[in-house]
């Protein structure tokens, strides 16, 4: 499946750092899940919810919501699956500036 993110033209300069930070986020999510640190998972996912839609990457906000819910119920399987979807999305997403 291919993904497209429609991003405002004036945000173009911010996007390379934004994508870099999202990849770092994957590492942080995996580490937090590995150590069962649900507080850390809640914090990161809360941040994802805010920043994704603001930049035009709506699925990131959705992943954030899923991970936050999983962290609340300690649902490791759901969190792990969502991190996988997040990785897949970041690898495939095409950015279109408008």
């Amino acid at each position: 499946m291919n993904y497209t993110a429609v991003v405002a033209k004036d945000l173009e300069d911010l996007i390379p750092v934004f994508i870099k930070n999202r990849n770092k986020e994957i590492d942080l999510l995996r580490a937090a899940l590995g150590s069962g640190d649900y507080e850390q998972l809640k914090q990161i996912s809360h941040r994802m919810k805010g920043v994704g839609n603001s930049y035009g990457f709506a699925p990131i906000s959705k992943f954030g919501k899923t991970i936050e819910d999983g962290a609340r119920t300690s649902d490791n399987a759901a969190i792990e699956a969502c991190i996988g979807d997040y990785v897949d999305y970041l690898q495939k997403v095409q950015v279109v500036y408008e």
Binding site: D10, L11, Q43, G50, G52, N53
Partner: protein
């Protein structure tokens, strides 16, 4: 943006521990011609606000360490920062945060994800309010300056400009010289115009007024030059004080020098008047030193 525009720009402090969100908000504000600075934690925010207060603060609620609520509450409880508008950034569904935000004194809220139109609209509204408040404050200060100037002018009728400035400068202070009646050792100088009665007999009333004005001008100028305070002018008599309302060094010597100057400066005028009116005039001066009560005595009106 030119250096001048930058200096006048509306300055927004963005406080968010997510660098991407901070960069996003700052970019939108800059596009609207505002200056935006980003800090990523509560302590840095407090430090920044205390050293260089911004015109508005965009404050994320959920931050590691000090929370946005706590920062908001602290800033709103400090006199110097209470008027800076604060917009709290909360989660969309987070009603509880909004209630806590209101309790902590926030001026407005933005929900994440932040929509640019909403951000710009809210910031612009607060900017207008802030500028109106600043304008009112500067008008209030201007009115205060004007009021003090009017009071200073009034005092200038009775005291030298230097003394008048000092009296106005002391207004409202706990050691205001007129706040409480007190005793002081005062030197009083009393002067009157010798030959005044004969002069009024022989001179047309309009001319007498001109002569009195000339006489009082000479005497009061000499009094001001010696930092005396004028207590009373009546008929041809003048009463001035030294060592009042503020203590002076050697007030008796000042009074003596003042009297000498009054005599010296009036001498050529007296000579001219004698030639003109055929009446000998001069200044009679008495000086006395003693304990006096200083304060506002009588009705406040």
């Amino acid at each position: 943006m030119s250096a001048m525009n930058e200096a006048q720009a509306f300055r927004v402090l963005v406080v968010d521990d997510d660098p991407d969100m901070g960069a996003y908000l700052a970019l939108l504000l800059k596009k609207e011609g505002m200056q935006a600075e980003i800090v990523e934690d509560g302590d840095s925010a407090m430090m920044r606000v205390m050293t260089d207060p911004p015109d508005l603060i965009l404050l994320d609620v959920m931050m590691a360490g000090v929370s946005g609520f706590e920062i908001c509450q602290r800033l709103k409880s400090e006199e110097g920062t209470a008027l800076i508008p604060i917009v709290l950034i909360t989660g969309l569904e987070d009603q509880e945060s909004r209630v806590r935000g209101i309790e902590s004194g926030a001026d407005d809220f933005l929900s994440k994800p932040v929509k640019r139109e909403e951000l710009v609209a809210r910031v612009k509204t607060l900017r207008r309010l802030h500028e109106t408040r600043k304008e009112l404050e500067s008008r209030r200060l201007a009115a205060e300056v004007e009021r003090k100037e009017a009071i200073r002018k009034t005092f200038s009728r009775y005291a030298s400009p230097r003394l008048a400035d000092r009296i106005v400068g002391d207004m409202g202070k706990s050691d205001d010289i007129f706040a409480k009646a007190h005793r002081a050792n005062v030197v009083a100088l009393f002067a009157d115009l010798r030959g005044f009665t004969r002069l009024t007999d022989r001179t047309e009333v309009g001319r007498v007024v001109e002569m009195l004005n000339e006489y009082f001008s000479i005497l009061s100028e000499a009094a001001y030059r010696h930092d005396a305070t004028i207590f009373n002018m009546a008929g041809d008599a003048l009463l001035v004080g030294f060592n009042v309302p503020f203590p002076q060094d050697e007030p008796a010597i000042l009074a003596y020098k003042c009297a000498r100057e009054m005599l010296t400066r009036f001498a050529p005028v007296a000579a001219r008047w004698e030639e003109e009116q055929r009446v000998a005039t001069g200044v009679g001066i008495g000086i006395c030193m003693g304990d006096t009560v200083i304060g506002n005595i009588g009705s406040p009106h």
